[in-house]
């Protein structure tokens, strides 16, 4: 239960205007630092919801697929340049970001992950690898500024951030494909 508290504190810290302003002032820290931290905050808080709404999760997220689908939709939505721009311009969208990433992405991720079969887990990582490669390509090679709020150089930096994260995921996929853990355990 302690970790749910830490998750809440993390979310509150991220909500502080100076913290939010700092992280949102750079494109890559907005997308690759603030947003994942919000998901992590939700991931930590999930314990609280799992214990208090046992029935709800058992009924609606029996095999983990609905939860992971919700997680994927939310994550894909926040990967779009347009949504980042809107979060900076419209307060309602900014509020939606601080609600959706912890509670609609972080919480379902935690509830779903242990329920998923290894097939779904790998499918998800493969999906995000492809998504990240595509987004990396988009942000790096786009001839125009994609966000009103960020310069082209920041866009290229974010593109490389996507590519390096995708590279790490590829390494993980190759590692888990070639490693037969049963031989060692």
């Amino acid at each position: 239960m302690k970790q749910s508290g830490y998750g809440l504190i993390l979310l509150l810290v991220m909500l502080l205007p100076p913290v939010a302003n700092l992280l949102e002032s750079i494109m890559i820290t907005h997308m690759h630092m603030q947003m994942p931290i919000l998901v992590i905050a939700g991931f930590l808080m999930a314990k609280f919801f799992q214990q208090h709404y046992l029935q709800f999760f058992a009924k609606w997220n029996e095999n983990g697929v609905p939860g992971i689908l919700l997680f994927t939709i939310i994550m894909a939505y926040w990967s779009l340049p347009r949504t980042m721009d809107e979060a900076l311009t419209l307060t309602s969208v900014e509020a939606f970001k601080f609600v959706s990433l912890p509670f609609l992405a972080g919480v379902p991720l935690r509830d779903s992950w242990p329920k998923l079969s290894s097939f779904w887990k790998h499918a998800l990582i493969i999906f995000f690898t492809i998504l990240f490669l595509a987004l990396g390509w988009l942000y790096m090679w786009s001839p125009v500024q994609l966000c009103n709020n960020y310069l082209v150089i920041e866009q290229i930096t974010l593109g490389w951030g996507f590519i390096s994260t995708a590279f790490a995921m590829v390494v993980y996929l190759v590692y888990s494909y070639f490693m037969d853990f049963s031989k060692y355990e």
């Binding site: 290229i156 930096t157 490389w160 951030g161 390494v171 993980y172 590692y175 031989k183 060692y184």
Partner: protein
């Protein structure tokens, strides 16, 4: 097929038992002896060159034109930073792999030999231009200073040799894990795995750097991106430093408790320290570039945080070490709040040297934290303070641990014993080294604060009063350096005496056991692939922003400079 597998598995089990009873096989011993011999010859030569520099900086010795200060400085750095450290680390860990994993596999041994000769070949290639005064670029061989291309080609062979040894170690560990399902990698081999992972990933950036430098040094391309090259260099340079540190730490956790008759501190904590150091190390390179132009202020602040994070596992180590000392001493009847220290074996060089090394890491680590801080770094960056810092960390914390290791490792691989006389000599050597290094490093720190620059041969700057005021400290530097040279001579004598002339006998490889009531270590500590992925993600976090900036907003670049 399966029967063959079973058979070879059984043979391996028998070999492991034989290894435990009879000690290291002759072939594995020869490998480690060769690596250690090169390491200690390097310290002999490198130490001598260091003395020449110390005497020059004190204004006591003018170097001849055919062997100038910067040549000596380059060779001193290369011999001690690359040759001594790499050869000792590989020799020590290969002996450890052989001992804890039941002997090296024949193909791994072959790989280590190929790696040995590649490194020697590379080193010879690198030394020729240094002797010809064509490569006085110092150990920090980044642009815009350019050496002869032969120098860089030599470095490529050194890196390839190191990779050979790294992959050899991975193959041996993987094969052991397959034969011992469900078991944890023995702790010393766990350290070895961490060190070789770092050696491989840490030398990737320098390999890229050198491959961009070679065409530039040949004149095939006109300019080079200096900031990119410097960044790639320090991603390696810093990791290399921490590789020796991790090697020393392995002895503190695993060997020292056995020598004092105690047991190892928490196995899980030890493994977490290794994993944390492996994941967080490479990004530390940026704190060497705090005053570099071209890196924006926010990025520098991020890197201060990333660098200080590396200090955390070191604090865990400090805690664990003193906990082991106290626990062991109390078990032996030690009493009082600090009175228990009397029960530790102070007369045993195998304990004394690593202990002083550890104690030295307290001021050394504190100095490191000072330098990682932006404003303080600006005060000391180009001064002798930095030289004092790395002589305290490497010359004391790391090298003294290596010395302590040599007093049991050399007899172990030579099937000889440590005699009481050599032990006594070792204690004397440890004291001389400690005094020498405290004087030299202390003087360097102090004179650095007074503004004396590093990487500069002796000059009074036209008898400028400030520059003249440095002289007394620089004398201390020379006195310390002379004591250290005496220490080197004693140490090298001890090593070769133990290798070839000491009485024959069996020496134990001292690996401490965990406490009897220790909790089992969780399985996730063995997921090396996952740690490597974490490391890649962290490296991405650290390097994407500045590198994209350096490349996209690149200046025209620099032609090669020969400033000497």
């Amino acid at each position: 097929m399966e029967t063959i597998m079973n058979k070879s598995g059984k043979t391996q089990v028998i070999r492991e038992k034989v290894n435990k009873v009879l000690g290291i096989s002759l072939e594995d011993a020869r490998l480690t002896k060769s690596y250690l011999s090169v390491a200690f010859l390097a310290i002999l030569l490198g130490g001598l060159l260091g003395l020449l520099q110390g005497l020059n900086r004190a204004g006591l010795l003018e170097l001849p034109v055919w062997l100038n200060y910067y040549q000596v400085l380059t060779a001193h750095g290369l011999l001690l930073v690359v040759v001594l450290s790499a050869f000792f680390t590989i020799g020590y860990f290969y002996a450890g792999l052989s001992h804890t994993l039941g002997g090296l596999l024949p193909k791994v041994r072959k790989m280590a030999w190929i790696g040995f000769w590649m490194k020697i070949f590379g080193f010879v290639l690198a030394v020729i231009p240094i002797l010809m005064n064509e490569a006085s670029v110092m150990y920090t061989f980044y642009p815009p200073m350019a050496a002869s291309p032969i120098f860089y080609i030599g470095l490529v062979f050194i890196v390839l040799g190191v990779w050979m040894c790294a992959f050899g170690a991975f193959i041996n560990v993987a094969s052991w894990r397959k034969r011992n399902p469900g078991q944890h990698i023995p702790i010393l081999s766990f350290f070895a795995t961490g060190v070789f992972v770092l050696l491989f990933f840490g030398s990737l950036p320098v390999a890229i750097e050198v491959f961009t430098i070679i065409p530039w040094a040949f004149g095939w391309v006109e300019t080079i991106n200096v900031m990119v090259a410097r960044t790639l260099f320090w991603a390696f340079g810093h990791t290399l430093v921490n590789i020796w540190y991790l090697t020393a730490v392995s002895a503190w956790y695993v060997i020292v408790p056995k020598i004092i008759g105690g047991r190892r501190w928490n196995d899980l904590l030890t493994r977490i320290v290794v994993i944390a150091l492996v994941i967080m190390n490479i990004t530390g390179g940026f704190h060497h570039q705090i005053i570099d132009p071209g890196i924006s202020e926010p990025v520098k602040y991020m890197h201060v945080f990333m660098s200080l994070a590396i200090g955390f596992p070191s604090l865990m180590t400090a805690y664990a070490m003193f906990a082991v000392f106290e626990r062991t001493a109390r078990r032996k009847g030690g009493k009082g709040l600090v009175g228990w220290y009397k029960k530790l074996p102070w007369g045993d060089v195998r304990f004394l040297a690593p202990f002083i090394a550890m104690a030295a890491f307290i001021p050394a680590g504190a100095g490191g934290i000072v330098q990682s801080t932006n404003q303080l770094n600006q005060v000391v960056h180009n001064t002798m303070w930095i030289v004092g810092h790395f002589h305290l960390t490497l010359g004391m914390s790391v090298v003294m641990t290596f010395f302590g290791i040599s007093y049991w490792l050399v007899p172990y691989v030579s099937k000889r014993v440590l005699t009481p006389q050599i032990n006594k000599l070792g204690v004397i050597q440890t004291i001389i080294w400690t005094i020498g290094m405290v004087i030299m490093s202390g003087a360097m720190h102090w004179v650095g604060l007074l503004g004396s620059p590093r990487r500069t041969s002796y000059s009074t700057y036209f008898d400028n009063a400030t520059a003249l005021s440095w002289d007394p400290y620089l004398f201390f530097l020379a006195i310390g350096g002379t004591l250290l040279m005496i220490g080197v001579l004693i140490q090298v004598y001890a090593v070769f005496y133990l290798m070839f002339f000491a009485p024959k006998g069996n020496t134990e490889f001292p690996v401490a056991e965990v406490e009897e009531d220790a909790a089992p270590t969780p399985r996730w500590t063995e997921r090396w692939g996952l740690w490597i992925v974490c490391m890649i993600v962290l490296v991405g976090m650290a390097y994407v922003i500045p590198l994209v900036d350096f490349i996209v907003n690149a200046p025209p670049g620099s032609p090669p400079y020969k400033t000497w």
